[in-house]
């Protein structure tokens, strides 16, 4: 880290040099790389930089920077930031998108909290996330570790694992919907009957619907995560395994003491990505069940969709945006807290 000595010696109406500024906070902290030497030069440079005005900005190539930035600014501005800002505004309005919107304060948020289905959706989303974590998180890791141990036909296994990801998500859900036919002649029920298990209701029963959705989601999503883990595993130095072997470690010992610690950074990322993804699950409940039976698979995102769109008369856009914003805020806070908590471990 650089010091902030230079700052005090120049235009310093501020605090004296003895007070060390927090790293990364003072304006000078990331500048002069050679504290003490050439104090005057850097002081002058600093003074110059202090004067922000259009002329110096242009002189320093600001136009070129802007030119290169422009496509990005326009694309993000038009397709991302503007809609975000507009949905924040809309969450405080009552509108049907045609007549003039009416400002309603916090009414939309209150309406969401008063809706009994909201609490059901919240619980369902948590349930989905928990189930997905329980099954969906370890399975790709185990599969990746096993596949990295395989000597022959590694490519074939990778292809097989990745295949579900290549199938368009909607197609695979619709296929599984047929497999999940609850009659005794359904695909899965026929397979179960071979081993003497009676027909299961799958998505036709409130108790089994959500696990059925998680099963499909895990199948569909595992391949992508496996590939990430496989890539990360190749970067684990073989020396570590050799050393562990010399010390007499078993396979489990090697996985526990070498593989997992080495994958730590990746594991933290995939975990938070999975939590964010499951909190926004939509495709499975939308296509499989439409939230049924009896709202047992209504998730937060499906509820947002229902607020906005299923009332064919241009529904409650205000409530939909209000809930979207609450979800976004929750996930943002969760991510920040998560990275704060885990930064120590993953930085090492």
């Amino acid at each position: 880290m650089t010091s902030t000595v230079t700052r005090a010696t120049t235009d310093a109406p501020g605090p004296p040099a003895i007070v060390p500024a927090a790293p990364g906070r003072g304006p000078a902290s990331n500048r002069s790389s050679a504290p003490g030497s050439r104090t005057d030069d850097s002081a002058r440079a600093l003074a110059r930089r202090r004067r922000h005005n259009p002329i110096t900005w242009v002189q320093r190539g600001g136009l070129t920077t802007l030119l290169f930035l422009l496509p990005l600014l326009i694309i993000f501005g038009v397709f991302s930031w503007t809609p975000i800002v507009e949905s924040v505004i809309m969450s405080f309005q009552k509108t049907n998108l045609v007549t003039a919107p009416v400002f309603v304060g916090w009414d939309n948020f209150v309406a969401v909290f008063r809706d009994p289905v909201f609490w059901v959706a919240l619980r369902n989303t948590g349930y989905f996330a928990a189930l997905a974590l329980l099954f969906g998180y370890p399975i790709p890791l185990v599969a990746a570790v096993l596949m990295s141990e395989v000597r022959r036909m590694k490519g074939l296994y990778s292809v097989l694992a990745y295949l579900p990801v290549v199938i368009p998500p909607v197609v695979s859900v619709l296929l599984w919907k047929i497999f999940y036919d609850a009659g005794p002649t359904g695909v899965f029920n026929t397979i179960l009957s071979w081993v003497g298990i009676p027909p299961q209701p799958w998505i036709q029963d409130a108790a089994t619907a959500m696990p059925s959705l998680v099963l499909q989601a895990t199948w569909a999503g595992a391949g992508g995560t496996i590939i990430i883990y496989l890539a990360a595993l190749t970067s684990v130095s073989p020396d570590l395994y050799d050393a562990a072997e010399v010390d007499g470690a078993s396979i489990w010992g090697k996985i526990w003491h070498v593989t997992l610690p080495q994958l730590r950074g990746i594991l933290f990322i995939t975990l938070i990505l999975q939590i964010i993804a499951t909190a926004q699950v939509f495709l499975q409940p939308f296509l499989f069940t439409g939230g049924g039976p009896v709202n047992s698979t209504t998730t937060i995102l499906l509820l947002i969709y229902q607020y906005a769109f299923t009332n064919s008369l241009g529904g409650a856009y205000g409530q939909a945006t209000a809930l979207s914003i609450m979800l976004a805020a929750f996930l943002a806070v969760l991510s920040v807290v998560y990275f704060r908590l885990t930064s120590r471990w993953s930085d090492e």
């Binding site: 900005w57 600014l73 007549t99 049924g292």
Partner: protein, 460 residues
């Protein structure tokens, strides 16, 4: 970072973006020389080539009659999910159709064009049955659309399955008890076939529960003399209807193993022989032939049984052709001329009717799908005579319905927040079919509370 110049440039970039967007939504209705452009949407996506050719023929006839109007016909299906966004974005056609359930609310929301002036100029303006035209009339008394193709709810059944189960397809059930008996017989004799099923998903569960309730003589909403609507989903007839379903499902095991069906899902299940009987609109054979390739010779339809009390009635529905609220007066005038030409004239004018029937028959589309009269029974019967030579659904298969329907009292849908009400009732129907011990009473009470709050909020 936050220099004024950068902010100015950012603002300029943002404005440029807005400019691009607003460019998309400009609606160029007319050109300088008095010609009016009109985008109409009378066919569903995936219509057959024959149907499209015929449509273009009719567009040409129309343009010959009105040389100032240039018509562009597109494939389009109105869905509630995209409607408001398309309206706001300016990508909506000028003429499109919406279901009876939605037209009145859309009109009161200011989302449809007022066509009163031009409607009054059509030749049939005074001929309309007030009750039918009411679905297209706003609370302000103005006309916002032109109804067509009304239907009554009916019982569709697979004649082939009836025969295989040892039942007489010419003698379909005439009471709820008979439906239950026949459904039980079918499910026992033909494992894997649901004897009877009805829709449960995407608001259709509530729609069909409303049909059952009204067939038994109950009402989900009551309108007081002061016009105030009271939601009454928690009533004896609705409970009777749910109990009937419960018996079919749990005592008779006559509803198969799958219970999540929307409109197209149950049509698919019926067309593939997994469902023997189901509650549907009387004109559904049109869709079964077009979308599911169902053999119309296997199709049977009868009136849905009504209870014998005086308030029992059959729920009906239909379509309303409406006009984009953003259109110019010239476009609205042209749009009404088109609707009159395309929808209304074939029901009252012989040559238009015959031409239409020929076209449908050529495209293997249903010609004589059973519908209800738009004007009066006499006009409707005349129309049926005109198209008779082109009928492509066996008339005797439709007989149980066509013989009985004029004895049934037509009962309109619940008037207020209809789709919200239907949506709230979906889980109730699903609960009865998937949970033997479903607490119907408290669920219906919750529906009353929820929808009543929406109704009351309108009054404020």
């Amino acid at each position: 970072m936050k220099s004024p110049a950068k902010i100015a440039v950012l603002a300029a970039a943002a404005l440029a973006g807005v400019g691009i967007l607003s460019g998309c939504s400009s609606n160029s209705g007319g050109s300088g020389d008095g010609q009016v452009n009109l985008v109409v949407a009378p066919v569903l996506p995936g219509a057959t080539a024959d149907a499209l050719t015929a449509l273009h023929d009719r567009v040409k006839q129309f343009e010959k009659k009105y040389p100032d109007i240039k018509v562009k016909a597109i494939e389009y299906q109105w869905t509630g999910t995209t409607f408001a966004a398309e309206l706001a974005g300016g990508t909506l056609p000028d003429v499109f159709n919406v279901p009876f359930t939605d037209s009145k609310t859309l009109a009161n929301n200011g989302q449809l064009a007022d066509i009163t002036k031009y409607f009054k100029q059509t030749s049939t303006a005074d001929k309309w049955n007030k009750n039918v035209l009411d679905v297209a009339t706003g609370d302000d008394g103005k006309v916002y659309g032109i109804p067509w193709g009304p239907y009554a709810m009916a019982l569709s059944y697979n004649r082939d399955i009836f025969t295989r189960a040892g039942l007489d397809p010419d003698k379909p059930p005439t009471t709820l008890d008979e439906i239950e008996q026949d459904a039980k017989t079918i499910s026992q004799k033909l494992p894997g076939v649901a004897g009877y099923m009805q829709m449960t998903k995407d608001n259709t569960g509530g729609w069909e529960l409303a049909t059952l309730t009204q067939a038994l003589g109950g009402h989900l909403e009551k309108v007081g003399s002061d016009g105030k609507v009271t939601v009454t989903a928690d009533n004896a007839k609705t409970k009777q209807a749910l109990n009937w379903l419960k018996a079919l499902r749990w005592n008779d095991d006559a509803m198969g193993s799958n219970f999540l069906f929307d409109w197209s899902g149950i049509n698919e299940a019926f067309a593939s022989g997994k469902v023997a009987m189901y509650m549907s609109g009387s004109d559904v054979i049109g869709s079964l032939m077009q979308a599911n390739g169902f053999d119309q010779k296997k199709y049977g339809v009868t009136t849905f049984p009504l209870a014998s009390n005086a308030s029992a009635g059959i729920l009906s529905g239909g379509n309303v052709d409406v006009v984009n609220v953003k259109d110019s007066p010239e476009q609205i005038a042209a749009a009404v001329k088109w609707i009159d030409f395309y929808r209304t004239q074939p029901t009252v004018d012989k040559s238009a009717a015959v031409k239409n029937a020929k076209t449908l028959a050529k495209g293997d589309q249903a010609v004589n799908a059973p519908t209800l009269p738009v004007f009066d029974k006499a006009t409707w019967q005349k129309n049926q005579e005109w198209i008779k030579p082109y009928d492509n659904i066996p008339v005797e298969n439709l007989k149980p319905f066509t013989d009985g329907i004029f004895d049934q009292k037509i009962s309109p849908e619940p008037p207020s927040h209809t789709q919200d009400l239907y949506g709230a009732l979906d889980p109730v129907v699903q609960a009865v079919l998937t949970d033997k011990n479903a607490d119907v009473d408290s669920m219906l009470k919750a529906v009353d509370t929820k929808i009543q709050a929406l109704v009351d909020a309108d009054g404020k």
